[in-house]
């Protein structure tokens, strides 16, 4: 028997407890989402149930107001992504192409804001949004998400921009194009894949954000998906767990698939280039 086969068996045995614990919540989510309501609280508790109740998803859509929350989440995530990119692309370009005074300082500033956590500032942010009359307004989230994702975005874009040869732009300058023109015509088209990957990560971060959304939104109709689903669980005597799990499946699985697929790019932007 080959060495590799023995090793594979040992490794899988070692990993198996963790694999089970990781897959367990996914199984719970799916099994509960399709379970008939009156079989939620059977005793003794059991994995088994009589039939797949796919209608749970349909009922959930209206009962949980999933569609409304979905639109809110989409609006906030798309707008925050666009705003973050608008602020980050020029900054990343400057870091990648120019030497300037204070560049080191600016990089340190980015490292610091990247690690800054919204929860520590949440009270100050709330007071800021009150002052601007933006509480209960999705745009408060758009601005804050853009700001908190910016440092990560700039890192990520800069590391990609460095790989785009500068000769192409220099050739354009020789031909008399202005910097702005060469940036838009020559550079940006080459950077599209990098920008797309980065955009997806900002989108997912915004999609998943909880604390700020919980704080800034007070009106049910404004809730984003995480807050909407949380509101179905928090402080209720009667929790419709089959609806909650159906909503969780729809809110997470598509995003999780995209994330798993692009994850290998993520590390680039996490300032870990520094330790490679």
């Amino acid at each position: 028997m080959s060495n590799k086969l023995v090793r594979s068996i040992v490794y899988w045995l070692l990993l198996s407890p963790l694999v089970i614990v990781i897959l367990f919540p996914f199984a719970v989510m799916f099994v509960t989402a399709v379970r008939p309501r009156d079989e939620l609280f059977t005793f003794p508790p059991s994995w088994f149930f009589s039939e797949f109740r796919w209608d749970n998803f349909v009922d959930m859509w209206t009962k949980v107001n999933f569609g409304g929350a979905l639109l809110n989440s989409l609006y906030v995530s798309v707008a925050a992504t666009v705003l973050a990119l608008v602020f980050s692309i020029p900054a990343a370009y400057a870091l990648s192409r120019y030497r300037f005074r204070g560049k080191g300082l600016y990089r340190n500033f980015l490292l610091m804001t990247q690690m800054m956590s919204p929860i520590v500032l949440v009270l100050g942010l709330f007071r800021l949004m009150v002052a601007f009359g933006l509480v209960n307004n999705l745009n408060s989230l758009v601005i804050t998400y853009a700001a908190f994702n910016m440092a990560f975005t700039i890192w990520m874009l800069q590391s990609y921009f460095n790989t785009i040869p500068r000769e192409l732009e220099e050739a354009a300058w020789m031909d008399g194009a202005t910097h702005l023109r060469s940036l838009i015509r020559i550079f940006l088209p080459l950077a599209v894949p990098a920008i797309a990957v980065t955009a997806i990560f900002i989108f997912i971060n915004s999609w998943n954000e909880f604390v700020l959304a919980l704080t800034m939104l007070r009106n049910n109709n404004d809730f984003t998906l995480p807050v909407q689903i949380f509101s179905q669980v928090a402080g209720r005597y009667q929790i419709e767990w089959h609806h909650v799990m159906a909503a969780t499946v729809l809110a997470t699985v598509p995003v999780a698939i995209v994330f798993s697929w692009l994850q290998r790019y993520l590390i680039r932007g996490m300032a870990l280039g520094a330790v490679k």
Binding site: R7, Y11, F24, W47, M115, I119, V120, W207, V233
Partner: protein, 299 residues
Amino acid sequence: MKAFRATPLLMIIPSLLLAMFIIGYPIIDLAYTSMQQVSRFGQLRGFNGMANFAEVFSDPLFYASLIRTGIWTVAVVGGTLILSLPIAMILNDEFYGRGMARVIIMLPWALSLTMTAVVWRWALNGRAGLLNASLMGMGISHEPIEWLATAPVAFTTEILIGILVSIPFTTTIFLGGLSSLPQDAYEASMVDGATRWKQFRFLTLPLMRPFINIAIVLNVIYVFNSLPIIWVMTEGGPANGTDILVTYLYKLAFRFGQLGKASAISLIMFGVLFVFIIIYVIMVMRNEDDGGAAGEAAE
């Protein structure tokens, strides 16, 4: 090339302004509010010096939360590191189904913390939770266990979930480190007859030191102010028994309207966070310097 010097500055200024506005201003506002008397409705009623801080430091719940924050951070980060290094070493080796194993180990990262916590809250339900179903089905327990009803059990459970969701990120850092280790050193040690344990102890561990350090600092930053798991599963309860500083701070600010006290705690937390951020920045810069020096030596 003679680029106009103002160009790069103009390009970074918008991002600076946005960060100052959204991240800088709240810090100043918190510092200001923490030294004000604040009404329940958020009106500032004038300077009161260190009164809010004095109130915080005489509050037994603050100390309880502080100690629990320490336990939470050390337990989650420690547990994550101890598990992640062997996992990364396994995933770095060749074996059948490695691609599959990598995808599974990374899965928790793909779910948001909030959703993970919602699912676990249901899975741990004392009456009908599927964890109890599994344990009873396998004959491990005979009575359903109330996982979230008492603080010590609930807090331990939350720590374990904290570890579970931190493993993918940490393993990724370690995988990056392992793939950069010099193979010839291992071959040389094999020739010298080193055992696997000795290889690990005297070769892998020292070489992985920088990666372990950065994993510690980043995890501490993420874990010490992570709200969703505890907030969704127990909201710091029962009876404040699972409160850590962030959940206590959130309750003070948005449930009890004690804004002065809450901003004082925010500022204290900001101070702690800032220390770790500085450590992180120094580590990154030192690594860059080393990298630069090594690059020059190679030329």
